[in-house]
Symmetry: C2
Subunit: 207 residues, 2 copies
């Protein structure tokens, strides 16, 4: 067995959360894990460029290339298995994953959500919509949550949360930026290391 | 007109939030307001004793003494009006207030809720139940919210929120204590002063 947990990061867009993970790895803050694959569901995702710059293998599986959701997920699984991946991190991954898929990786898929779950989460709450809803309700505190992915949208076990103030002049964009910089980019590498270390421990016990 | 906004605090129990308000007033941290009445819906509420020790007038109106909700609220209104009260603070007040009642005091009734609204609020979420639900969901951050009371349970405009960490060994009781001490007792006097000052400004403009 490897002495580090093998991680795939799933992306769809700019990949700022991927960059936070790559930077943490570079700084030695992910000692129990190694990012061995960046998998995108869009060929034009800038996240792929970030992966290449960091020397991490990439793969692209676009939903439209496959006749069914099952075939799409089968193609992703093939990539994941061929790289010996043991845990997944969703970093701005906007494709749907079926219950069949998520059940293959119980407590091995991490997601980051830009609110303090259970506030402003579940169906329809993604991207700027989350921050628009928070400002519409007039909350004075928001933040981000890293949680395991299961069959319930934003319903899996919570690993880490961090709060930041909502300021009187905030727009959805300024709130999004504060939560990314102060919460998501901080929490995601921490949670990745926690889970990677815990999976290493499990593997050692199994040997 | 008085040069301070006249405040009634409504209580049902031990009155620790009332004490936080009385202490703030004593320390000069409520310069725009004056607590002129403590109104309890229970004759045996220890909060009444706290009011007497601070020299604040008290009144008791128990629901069971009145044939209808309307008659009960009429009795409360009589007390409130006879003391020239301009704003109300619910500090652990467990009786129901009708829409007719709350509509008489638009943005003039404050409540403190022991969670970060919109998490763990609304019907059925009071006292320890709030903290039991937070621990059951496994959140890592909780806190308190001071908001205006309107016809929607915990649905009024939010004034202040403060977050604290949930710790791995927390019980509902330890979490409740941390949120009371670090959030509720801090936020409630701050919010009281904010609203009292804002009502003074309004009154000056009306004169």
């Amino acid at each position: 067995m490897s002495d580090r947990t093998r991680i795939a990061v799933l992306v769809s867009g700019g990949g700022t959360n991927l960059q936070a993970l790559l930077d943490a790895q570079q700084r030695g803050q992910l000692p129990s894990g190694e990012i061995v694959l960046v998998l995108s569901n869009r060929a034009d995702a800038y996240a792929l460029e970030r992966a290449r710059k960091a020397g991490v293998p990439t793969a692209v599986t676009e939903r439209r290339q496959y006749p069914t959701q099952a075939a799409f997920e089968e193609a992703m699984l093939k990539e994941i298995e061929s790289h010996g991946v043991q845990m997944l991190i969703l970093a701005g991954f906007l494709a749907i994953l079926s219950e069949d898929f998520t059940r293959r990786f119980p407590e091995r898929i991490l997601n980051v959500h830009p609110s303090l779950i259970p506030a402003f989460c579940g169906k329809g709450f993604y991207g700027l919509k989350v921050h628009e809803a928070a400002l519409a309700r007039g909350v004075k505190v928001s933040g981000a949550t890293v949680h395991f992915v299961n069959e319930i949208p934003d319903g899996g076990r919570i690993l880490l949360q961090k709060a930041v103030p909502v300021l009187p002049d905030d727009t959805p964009e300024t709130l999004q930026k504060r939560i990314m910089q102060e919460c998501e980019w901080v929490l995601l590498p921490q949670a990745a290391e926690m889970v990677a270390a815990s999976l290493l421990d499990q593997n050692e016990k199994e040997i």
